[in-house]
């Protein structure tokens, strides 16, 4: 098992290398560069300003050399400094956005699992019933509505007309002056709508997955024979079938690890939330190469680790799979 993990980890290195290489060149060869943002369309810049900026950002060197420099820094986990004028390091920039994004994603994911799994399992058990069909339509409605449109409608109705919920942001203006419970309540109240909408949109995937997985298991011979042996229906379904049907769901958990740090730029724009999605979007638009690279590399590492965890979990729960032994 350990050997298997070690081998997989070693295999990640060339993958990561390939990923950074592709990212780096795609971004740098794309039109536009960060220096021009400061120098363009500005009547008061002198002719040397542009060259000055290029040099400052190290963009005057040949691309391969820039890549080597970048790689050397990343090797010691230094993503460098953002090109934006606040002089923050990429790590600092990511870290100030990360908590918000992780909080929203964990809440969202938790609720999705809590709601989607029972829905999926029950639909499978009651296949083709009215319940099954209503659930199908319901979860797909969530999937099919353009999120920003629904979000605006909800904000208008619940925020402006009814005044029940705040419209945007994650905290009130006087957040720092609130007591601890007050702070918890404030954040919960502000994140209600964004979390609710992301859950509504995300139910379809998992509930369908759970349903299909459950259906498959219910059709297996051992379930049929268990029923034939006269075991109680509850026992058959909830002990034997459910346990096996949840196996593939475990892998989904592993695969959603990278999703935890990825923010949706649309959601964040609409709700005025300072998360990872906005950071990445702004970085791409401003050609802030170090930030773009930093986020992509972090995402890639998490994805690879997530995949590995998914595989390991699968091995742990499924006795038929054994790693490291032929």
């Amino acid at each position: 098992m350990l050997r298997y993990i070690a081998a997989r980890l070693a295999g990640m290195i060339p993958l990561l290398f390939g990923i950074t290489l592709i990212c780096f060149f795609v971004i740098h060869l794309a039109p536009g560069d960060p220096a021009q943002f400061l120098a363009s369309m500005n009547p008061k810049f002198s002719e040397t300003a542009y060259q000055k900026f290029e040099k400052m950002y190290g963009l005057d060197k040949p691309l391969p050399e820039q890549y080597i420099i970048w790689l050397k820094r990343v090797a010691v986990l230094d993503f460098g400094e953002s090109f934006s004028q606040d002089g923050k390091t990429v790590t600092a920039k990511i870290m100030e956005r990360m908590p918000v994004t992780i909080y929203l994603n964990v809440m969202g994911m938790l609720l999705i699992f809590l709601i989607a799994l029972p829905l999926g399992v029950w639909s499978a058990y009651k296949q083709n019933s009215l319940f099954d069909k209503s659930v199908t339509v319901f979860v797909f409605i969530g999937f099919a509505v353009p999120t920003f449109w629904l979000a605006l409608l909800c904000m208008y109705y619940f925020g402006v007309i009814k005044g029940w919920l705040p419209i945007s942001g994650l905290t009130s203006y006087n957040f720092d002056q609130l007591s601890f419970l007050g702070k918890v309540w404030d954040v919960a109240w502000h994140s209600f709508l964004p979390v609710l909408l992301s859950v509504f949109g995300g139910l379809a995937g998992l509930s369908r997955f759970a349903r299909n997985s459950m259906l498959e298991v219910l059709g297996e011979d051992y379930i049929i024979s268990a029923r034939a042996r006269g075991l109680s229906e509850r026992r058959v379904v909830f002990k034997h079938a459910l346990k096996n049907a949840m196996l593939p769901v475990v892998t989904i958990l592993g695969l959603s690890v990278p999703g935890l740090i990825g923010g949706s730029v649309i959601f964040e724009s609409i709700f005025g939330i300072a998360g990872m999605g906005q950071l990445f979007y702004q970085a791409v638009m401003m050609r802030d190469y170090p930030v773009v690279m930093g986020i992509l590399v972090m995402g890639a590492v998490l994805t690879l680790i997530g995949n590995l965890i998914a595989d390991i979990c699968y091995g742990l729960v499924d006795p038929r799979i054994r790693y490291g032994k032929k």
Binding site: P146, G259, G262, F280
Partner: protein, 276 residues
Amino acid sequence: MAKNRLLGKVKGSYLFYSGLAVVLFFIILAVFAPVIATHDPTAIDLNNIFAAPSAEHFFGTDELGRDVFSRILYGSRISLFVGFVAVGISLIIGVFLGLIAGYFGGWTDIIIMRIVDIMLCFPAFFLILAVIAFLNPSVFNVMAVIGLTGWMGVTRLVRAEVMSVKTRDYITAAQVQGISGRIIMFKHILPNVMTPIFVTATLGIAGAILTESSLSFLGLGVQPPTPSWGNILTAGKDNIMFAWWLSMFPGLAIFVTVLGYNLLGEGLRDILDPKN
């Protein structure tokens, strides 16, 4: 016998039917847009901007006085076109690579699957965003980008199917007879993996239509004056309280269509899945 069973399943599936009806309805609308449209979708009338829905303009007019009904009709052409072509691109790449990887195995398989892994490491929307920002957001590029970033799932699916089909007796028999790999792949294996591909494609179209609307929200989707559902909806979002028709109708069009494709896809899966 088998056919009868299939037919029986189809008969019972209301969701499948409603999905199919929606999909066909919008395809017909798109095809006959020039006949059905009441106005030129790009005709500007600055004296009649933000007109509410009326007998003259069924869905009202937009910020340049253009007929929203006609724009949505023409927009359905663009949106569906984007969906079909994007999915077509993913399918061609995905099926091709999946077949090769699954059939030949060995190094071919390893290399292809590593590429898939690399591609999957970029969050899909991040990837689209980055590429779109670097290319220009023309209709063609939007399709290409959605397509080029969506083939990995198909490859995995096809590869898995091929690997399981490959071991069956009739394929082994064909190989023993010395039939070339290409013919085996396309004539004998491909037809067997068509079912899951078809389902994936249906769901993919729905996804592509939604992705286009998200890109439009960021201003990176299909560009004006070409109408797409995404950019009509986005143009309407700032007027959600005042000119509700600008966002309501394109929003509903996207919603109903995407729902339709999803129900169709799910229905197909239920019907074609031999286990049910």
